[in-house]
C-alpha cells in the first residue's frame, strides 16, 4: 500500500444560520486509526487552511466519541455518518464534511435537533409513573418482550434517520422514524401500554406515522441497527386499529 502522509479534508463552513456557506480545505498529518473527530481537533489546534490562510476552528457537536450520545452526526462524503466512528482509512479523500441538511445549521457542522426532542414531548414518549416514592417492583416482563423493546430503547436521537428520509423536507414536517419507534417502545411497556391511546392519537396527527412512504432508508442508515421499519409498521397497525375500533366502538 502506498504510504499516505497526509489527510485532505474539505469542510463546508457557515458562520451562522443565515450566513452563506463556503468550503475550506485542510491538509492534516496522517496517523493510524484517525477518525473525523481527530481531524476536526487537528484543525482546531492549527486552524490554517491548505493554502495557508488563517481561519477559525470548526464548530461541531460531539460528546461521547463512542457512538452512544448521538451528538456528532454529520454528512461525510455525501452520507450521514457519526463523525466519531467515521474512520479516515475507510473514507475516500478528500474527505468532504458537511452539516446535516434537515436541521437548521447553528454554525459550521453544528445543527439544532431540538425538533426531535419537541416531538418526543408531543408523542408523550415516557412511562407515566405515580411518583418516585417506594411503590415496589415494576411490572413483570417476559424476556421476549424485553428482547423486542431493548433495541428500540437504544435510539440515540442522532437524527440520521431524518437526514436520509425523503419524506423529511421543507414541504413535509414528518416526525421521522426515530420518534415513531419510541411510540412503539412505550406502547410495549406494560405501564406505558395503559396510555397507548394518547400516543397513537398523537402519532396519527400532522407529520405523524402516515407520512412515512416506506423508502426504508432509515433502517439502512441507523447506527444502532434499530428495526425502524418494523416499528413504523407496528405503529401503523396499532393506529389503524385505534382509528377503526375507536371510531366504531369508542
Amino acid at each position: 500500500m502506498a504510504e499516505k502522509k497526509s489527510v485532505i479534508v474539505r469542510v463546508r463552513r457557515q458562520a451562522g444560520p443565515n450566513e452563506r456557506p463556503h468550503w475550506e480545505e485542510f491538509e492534516l498529518a496522517s496517523r493510524p486509526h484517525m477518525n473525523v473527530i481527530i481531524c476536526l481537533r487537528d484543525i482546531a489546534e492549527r486552524p490554517i487552511t491548505r493554502d495557508g490562510k488563517a481561519t477559525s476552528p470548526i464548530t461541531y457537536d460531539s460528546n461521547c466519541l463512542e457512538e452512544v450520545c448521538g451528538s456528532c452526526a454529520m454528512v461525510i462524503n455525501g452520507k450521514a455518518r457519526m463523525a466519531c466512528s467515521a474512520l479516515v482509512d475507510s473514507l475516500t479523500q478528500p474527505i468532504r464534511i458537511e452539516p446535516m441538511t434537515k436541521f437548521p445549521v447553528v454554525r459550521d457542522l453544528s445543527v439544532d435537533r431540538g425538533v426531535m426532542f419537541e416531538n418526543l414531548k408531543r408523542m408523550r414518549a415516557w412511562v407515566p409513573i405515580d411518583g418516585t416514592h417506594n411503590l415496589g417492583e415494576g411490572p413483570r416482563m417476559s424476556p421476549d418482550t424485553q428482547a423486542k423493546a431493548y433495541p428500540l430503547s437504544r435510539c440515540i436521537t442522532c437524527g440520521m434517520c431524518l437526514e436520509v428520509c425523503p419524506q423529511v423536507n421543507d414541504n413535509n414536517q414528518f416526525i421521522g422514524a426515530a420518534i415513531i419507534s419510541q411510540v412503539r417502545l412505550f406502547n410495549l411497556h406494560p405501564t406505558g401500554a395503559m396510555h397507548a391511546r394518547e400516543r397513537l392519537e398523537a402519532v396519527m396527527g400532522p407529520g405523524g406515522v402516515a407520512d412515512c412512504a416506506n423508502a426504508q432508508n432509515c433502517v439502512q442508515i441507523c447506527p444502532k441497527q434499530i428495526p425502524l421499519t418494523e416499528s413504523i409498521a407496528e405503529v401503523n397497525r396499532q393506529s389503524i386499529k385505534q382509528a377503526l375500533l375507536g371510531w366504531l366502538f369508542g
Partner: protein, 594 residues
C-alpha cells in the same frame, strides 16, 4: 409563603434525578446543561447498577453491599452515607424498573443480575451493555414529562460559569453562558445543585465524554466551595486506546466470564487463538484466585501495569493485554454485551466474538470531588449542593464497578429534597438580593470573555490541554512518585503562565467553541493542580492512589479525607477524619479471602 426557586446544573443521572425530585415537590426548577441532557456522559455507563436484591439465593444483603463498598474503597469513605446508599439501592432499581428501563430479564420475568468487580454476589442489574444509556433515557423521559407540564425549564446549550454569591457568602444563583449566542446571564435561585460529572479531560484522553472537564467544580472551588479527595482517580483496567479517547470496555465483559491474559513468553507474536491455553498467563486468576478477573479496578489496573511494564509481557511488546470472550457462546454475548462488542468492532474492525480484544487501562472516574456534608449533599457554601460523580462522598479510595450509577441517582434523590427544604426555610430568598450582586458577577464573567477574545499570543489552547493531559496521565494515574508529582505541579504552573498567552483564533460572538474551551481549560489547570498536590501530599498507598515509595496503607497518619480549599487565590490542603463508625478498617487483601 414565597415560592422557592431551584437550579440544577448538569443533566446526567444525578442532575435529572434531582430535577425530578424538586419538580415532584412542586417547586419550579431550571435545568442547565452544556449538551441536550439526553447526550450527557451517563449514556456511556455500560455494565450495570448495583443493588443487593438477592434474587439468586446467594444470601446477598444491603449490609454485604455496604461492606463490599467500604472495603473496596479502602475505608476512606465516610460510612453512614454509603450505608444509606446501599440500603436505598433496591428501591432505586424498583423505581427505574417502573420508569420502563429495559433491564434484562430472567425466564420468570424478574430482573436478571450479573457479577461485577469487588464482590462475590450477582448484584448488578443491567440492560444489555448500555445500562447507563437506558437509565439516563428513563430519567430524561420523566423530566420531559415534567417539562411538558411546565414544571421544569431546560437551558440546554448553556454552560455554567460561576455561582452568584452575596456579600455574606451565600449562593443566590448562577451565572451561565449561552453557547450559541455567547450571551452571559445570571439566574437567581435559592439553591443550586451541581451534578457536573467527571474530570476526564484533565487527563487529556480518558473514557469520559468531551464535556467532562471538571470546569464547574473548579470554578466553584475558586469561589470557596471545598474539594475533597481529588487525588483519587480511577483508572479502568480495560479500555481501548484511541487518539481522541479511550473507549471503555465494561467490567461486565469479565462479569459474564471474560478472561484477561497475556502470552507467557515475552515476544510471543502468534495470533492469540493459536497460543495454547497452557502457554497463556491468566495473571488475575492466578494472583487473585477467589475474585479472579473480578478484582476491584485499582487492583486489576496495577496488575496489568505490573505485567506490562515490570514483567514486559504486554501483547507484542506493547502496552496491551488480551480481554478474551471467545469461549462464551455468541448468543449470550449478543444478549448481554452487544453494546460494547459493537464499539470494539466499529472502532477496531475486529469482531471480539471471534478474536480476543486488546485492552489497556485508561483514566475513567474521579472518586474525589466537591466536598459535601454527610446528610444533605450540601457543600460548605450555603445554597450550593452537589450530587453524582462531581462530589466525593460514596466511593472512598476506589469505586466498585456499577456503584456509580446508584450513587448518582441516590445523590440526586437526596439533593433535590434537601435543597427544597433549605429554600423553603429561607425567610428571604434570592428575589430580595440587590440586583447589583448579579450585575457585578455578570460583568466579571463578561470581562473574562473579553480579555480572552482580545488576547493575542502564540499559545494554542488545544496544545496546552494536550500537554496537561499527557503529564497528568503519565505521572498522576496508576503509579505515583513524589518527584514526578512535584515536576507535574511545576509543569502545571508553567502551563498556567503560558495560558496567559493563548490565542483563540476565533474572536466571533456566535457559537464560539474555542472561547468556551479556553475558559474550561483554565479551570482544568487549577483542578489538575488540586489533584496533583493532593497526591503529592498523601504519602501512603490506598485504593487507587499508589506510591511505590509508600506501598502500604497508613491508617494512623492517612485515614483522613483531603479537603482542598481556595484561600487568597491559592490551593490549600486540609484534612478531616473519616467516619468509620460502622465497619472498623481492616487490611484490604483480595489475594487472600477477605
Amino acid at each position: 409563603m414565597r415560592e422557592p426557586k431551584i437550579i440544577v446544573v448538569g443533566g446526567g443521572l444525578a442532575g435529572l434525578m434531582a430535577v425530578i425530585r424538586v419538580a415532584e415537590a412542586g417547586v419550579p426548577v431550571d435545568l442547565f446543561s452544556i449538551v441536550p441532557v439526553k447526550r450527557s456522559h451517563s449514556v456511556c455507563a455500560q455494565g450495570g447498577i448495583n443493588a443487593a436484591k438477592n434474587t439468586k439465593g446467594e444470601g446477598d444483603s444491603t449490609a454485604q453491599h455496604f461492606d463490599d463498598s467500604i472495603y473496596g474503597g479502602d475505608f476512606l469513605a465516610n460510612q453512614p452515607p454509603v450505608k444509606a446508599m446501599c440500603e436505598a439501592a433496591p428501591g432505586i432499581i424498583d423505581l427505574l424498573d417502573r420508569m420502563g428501563v429495559m433491564f434484562n430479564r430472567t425466564p420468570e420475568g424478574l430482573l436478571d443480575y450479573r457479577r461485577f468487580g469487588g464482590t462475590l454476589y450477582h448484584r448488578t442489574a443491567f440492560a444489555g451493555a448500555t445500562t447507563g444509556q437506558q437509565l439516563l433515557y428513563a430519567l430524561d423521559e420523566q423530566v420531559r414529562r415534567f417539562e411538558a407540564e411546565g414544571k421544569v425549564r431546560k437551558y440546554e446549550g448553556w454552560t455554567f460559569l460561576s455561582a452568584v454569591l452575596d456579600g455574606t457568602g451565600v449562593s443566590q444563583g448562577i451565572c451561565a453562558m449561552d453557547l450559541k449566542t455567547m450571551e452571559v446571564r445570571t439566574f437567581p435561585a435559592d439553591a443550586a445543585i451541581f451534578c457536573t460529572g467527571g474530570v476526564g479531560a484533565i487527563f487529556g484522553r480518558s473514557t469520559n465524554s468531551v464535556v467532562c472537564t471538571g470546569s464547574a467544580q473548579s470554578a466553584l472551588l475558586q469561589q470557596g466551595v471545598d474539594y475533597a479527595n481529588g487525588e483519587f482517580i480511577q483508572v479502568h483496567p480495560t479500555a481501548i486506546p484511541g487518539e481522541d479517547k479511550l473507549r471503555l470496555m465494561s467490567e461486565s465483559a469479565r462479569g459474564e466470564g471474560g478472561r484477561v491474559w497475556v502470552p507467557q513468553r515475552p515476544g510471543d507474536n502468534r495470533p492469540p487463538l493459536q497460543i495454547p491455553v497452557d502457554e497463556r498467563f491468566y495473571f488475575l486468576e492466578e494472583w487473585y484466585p477467589k475474585y479472579g478477573n473480578l478484582v476491584p479496578r485499582d487492583i486489576a489496573t496495577r496488575a496489568i501495569h505490573k505485567v506490562v511494564f515490570e514483567m514486559k509481557l504486554g501483547v507484542g511488546g506493547d502496552a496491551a493485554v488480551y480481554l478474551d470472550l471467545t469461549h462464551i457462546p455468541r448468543e449470550v454475548l449478543d444478549r448481554k454485551l452487544e453494546g460494547i462488542l459493537e464499539i470494539y468492532e466499529k472502532f477496531l474492525g475486529v469482531d471480539p466474538r471471534v478474536e480476543p480484544m486488546m485492552v489497556f487501562p485508561g483514566m475513567h472516574y474521579t472518586m474525589g470531588g466537591i466536598w459535601v456534608d454527610n446528610e444533605h449533599q450540601a457543600t460548605n457554601v450555603p445554597g450550593i449542593y452537589a450530587a453524582g460523580e462531581c462530589e466525593y462522598q460514596y466511593h472512598g479510595a476506589n469505586r466498585l464497578g456499577a456503584n456509580s450509577l446508584v450513587s448518582c441517582i441516590w445523590g440526586g434523590m437526596v439533593a433535590g429534597p434537601a435543597s427544597v427544604k433549605y429554600a423553603q426555610g429561607l425567610s428571604k430568598g434570592c428575589e430580595s438580593v440587590d440586583v447589583s450582586v448579579f450585575d457585578r458577577e455578570r460583568r466579571r464573567q463578561e470581562q473574562i470573555n473579553q480579555a480572552l477574545l482580545r488576547q493575542d499570543g502564540a499559545e494554542n489552547p488545544i496544545t496546552i490541554w494536550k500537554e496537561m493531559g499527557s503529564w497528568m496521565t503519565e505521572h498522576v494515574t496508576v503509579v505515583r512518585h513524589n518527584q514526578d508529582l512535584e515536576r507535574t505541579d511545576a509543569k502545571l504552573q508553567e502551563l498556567l503562565e503560558r495560558y496567559k498567552k493563548i490565542n483563540l483564533s476565533d474572536r466571533t460572538q456566535w457559537s464560539n467553541q474555542t472561547l468556551n474551551f479556553a475558559r474550561e481549560l483554565y479551570n482544568m489547570l487549577i483542578l489538575a493542580r488540586v489533584i496533583t498536590l493532593g497526591a503529592l501530599a498523601r504519602n501512603e498507598s490506598r485504593g487507587a492512589h499508589y506510591k511505590p515509595e509508600f506501598p502500604e496503607r497508613d491508617d494512623p497518619n492517612w485515614l483522613k479525607t483531603t479537603r482542598a480549599s481556595w484561600k487568597n487565590g491559592q490551593i490549600r490542603l486540609g484534612y478531616e477524619a473519616v467516619d468509620t463508625s460502622l465497619v472498623p478498617p481492616r487490611p484490604r487483601r483480595y489475594d487472600v479471602a477477605s
